[in-house]
Amino acid sequence: MSRDDWFESMYEANVSAVVAYCSRRLGRENAEDAAADVFVVAWRRFDEVPKEEILPWLYGVARKVVANHQRSRRRTSRLRARLRSVEGSAPEVVEVGAEISRDHEEIGEALRRLPERDQEILRLIAWEHLDRRTVADMFGVTPNAINKRVSRAYDRLGRLLGSRRRGQSQRLPASKRGEA
């Protein structure tokens, strides 16, 4: 199989998953740009790319690409903040990121309170549907370490969600709490 043929086949099989990965972390409007970067890397590194089970490898590259986008966004955000302090009329920064629906806003908020690495591990398992052994390989740690990490992260997530819900309940009027 030629390099072109391999790439075409690989691209066709994985592009939707990679775009989804990027969209979850950067928002849809940046996802396709980021995904294109991922496949450019795959093309350049043809000799090193695993020819089977490539998706985790692509996710690993995508993680770096997403990080670059996010750093760029932070730089722009700081620039805008400076502009606002100077001019007072600069447009507000519209942060674009993983667009968790309002129905699940609370989990998005809780997720962001976790260490970045834990966030990513949970996303890979829950959203990208990777098994823990694959995730362990991606992070270069043992499956046992990932198991512990996942367990601890879910526990923290649960506590954060519980704490948030208790807080909301306390802020509700008595009548509303009764209805609940």
Partner: protein
């Protein structure tokens, strides 16, 4: 483990069933083909598709350029929505910044929309110290103590285009040019340093009690850029690994990003480059290695947290890969953030509770175990280094920190609001255009009295360049200088007349790692 958390997490997936259409896939593939083509790799055409003209490579370049925009008054022009727009496919390529000439016109994407630019002047770095001003010309250095008479120096070894100049209060001068750092205490005898020889002490030595304002970081970036060129060769096979330039008050920094799970062999890269590690920095899951001379500095950035410099050295010295560095740093960092007993997150933890650590909010910070003072950061388009009364003062977005030994840091008084200019005037440290302090501890909003009646303000006696003191508007149409902070004279320097702009009106300064140009947007 909480089952409900697992279920909630799954249900919160923002893209549960994303499947691209044939057209969407083709569009992305076209971008891939264009990117590959733009880099000269013509082996892939995206199944027969024609590559895009320009490609994403040019857009990346534009984004980089936009990211280093230094805002002077003219940026407001863009913000008011005056920027002309042009269809993306009609944007002319921006000219090569190395060859920009006055009058060049092009359209460029900015964070605020497309804008048309015209080059007015080539801008060169300048520095202010005491009553003296140092300029860097295309071929030589110009210094003046009175902004009227100027002396010209041409250090030997300053071959190629000079990039920047730093002047210490004692008169020592450091000049950056292609491949060489030249220093002199008397401007007659010069010592040259190759980049590989340049250690933290190379520039730390001339710093003496007094004030020191480094008003432009373009030359710092250039120093870093030179050093950085040794790295890409090593990382060429690791495009997923990243590196970034870092301003560091005369010390060249490189940040090598090596996230967990990516086999970026940082140590091999450093060994091959002949660089020694002087610092690492963990940035939200990534590890950055700062490299330079002979010292070791380990720093960590994590939201608002700092990190113990000394205790992290052993961890790094014993590690064999960036992964281990990351784990070691993170373990200690987490223990700081999470406190005794895992799982007790301390969201209320702020920098005040981490006294002794520099602010790490977003800019760089300072640390040096040897006692020599180094300031790393802040951003390339910002004033970066201040020595005040013999102490190094670092500036971060949400705080100002002071140290007399480079190890213990104290937060100074009230933090300035927002970013802005930072200047030193006699015994007063002026931050932004709204804060000042007589003692570095108590801060007041407004203008220090001696400067309150001046038409323009920024910092060191000797030169001013900045907004109106009442904060009403950015009026950069005139440049004034003062030898004492009280008596001010409009400055019509020969340097200005010969085309080295100090006074700026409705201009945007775009900095690049190489140099900067002054450009003016067209209506």
């Amino acid at each position: 483990m909480s089952d409900s958390s697992v279920d909630l997490m799954r249900r919160a997936d923002p893209e549960p069933n994303l499947q691209l259409t044939k057209e969407q896939k083709a569009a992305i593939r076209l971008r891939v083909a264009a990117e590959i083509d733009s880099e000269g790799d013509r082996g892939y055409r995206g199944a027969g598709m024609k590559p895009l003209s320009g490609g994403r490579g040019s857009m990346v370049a534009l984004a980089v350029a936009a990211a280093v925009i230094v805002v002077l008054g003219g940026m407001a022009w863009l913000l008011r929505g005056n920027a002309p727009t042009a269809p993306a496919d009609s944007l002319p390529e921006p000219p090569n910044r190395e060859t920009l000439q006055a009058g060049d016109v092009w359209v460029e994407e900015t964070p605020f929309g497309d804008a048309t630019f015209t080059v007015i002047e080539r801008h060169h770095s300048f520095d202010i110290v005491g009553t003296e001003v140092g300029f860097i010309d295309r071929e030589s250095l110009l210094f003046s103590a009175d902004a009227v008479t100027w002396e010209q120096f041409s250090p030997p070894g300053m071959e190629g285009r000079p990039r920047g100049v730093q002047v210490s209060p004692g008169g020592s001068v450091a000049v950056f040019s292609d491949g060489v750092l030249s220093t002199s205490a008397d401007r007659q005898t010069w010592t040259n340093y190759e980049w590989s020889e340049m250690g933290p002490s190379a520039l730390a030595a001339p710093l003496e009690e007094g004030f020191y304002v480094n008003s432009s970081n373009e030359h710092d970036l250039e120093v870093i850029y030179r050093l950085n060129r040794q790295i890409p060769e090593i990382w060429a096979d690791e495009p997923a690994c990243d590196y970034r330039n870092r301003v560091a008050g005369g010390v060249a920094y490189i940040e090598l990003f090596s996230s967990e799970g990516t086999n970026c062999d940082v140590e091999a890269a450093l060994q091959s480059s002949g660089l020694e590690v002087i610092g690492t920095e963990a940035i939200l899951g990534s590890v950055a290695i700062a490299t330079s001379g002979s010292s070791v500095v380990i720093t960590v950035e994590y939201a608002t947290a700092g990190y113990d410099v000394e205790s992290s050295q052993t961890s790094f010295a014993n590690s064999t890969a960036a992964q281990e560095v990351a784990d070691a740093l993170r373990m200690q960092l987490e223990s700081t953030l999470w406190g005794e007993g895992a799982g007790t997150f301390r969201p209320d933890l702020d920098t005040e509770q981490l006294r002794g650590y520099p602010e790490m909010a977003s800019f760089g910070f300072i640390a040096h175990p040897s006692g020599e003072l180094i300031y790393a950061g802040p951003t390339p388009n910002f004033i970066g280094l201040v020595i005040w009364k013999g102490s190094l003062i670092g500036l971060a977005e949400s705080g100002v920190w002071q140290s007399t030994d480079g190890a213990q840091w104290n937060r100074l008084g009230r933090p300035p609001e927002g970013a802005g200019r930072l200047a030193v005037h006699h015994d007063q440290l002026v931050i932004d255009q709204r804060w000042f302090s007589d003692n570095g501890t108590d801060w007041e909003m407004g203008w220090p009295e001696p400067l309150g009646t001046t038409p323009l303000l920024t910092g060191a006696a000797g030169m001013v360049l900045g907004p109106n003191p009442d904060g009403s508007a950015w009026d950069l149409t005139e440049t004034w200088y003062s030898p004492n902070g009280t008596d001010w004279t409009k400055w019509d320097s020969p340097v200005f007349e010969s085309g080295h702009v100090l006074a700026i009106r409705d201009l945007i300064l775009i900095g690049t790692p190489q140099f900067s140009v002054l450009v003016e947007p067209l209506n």
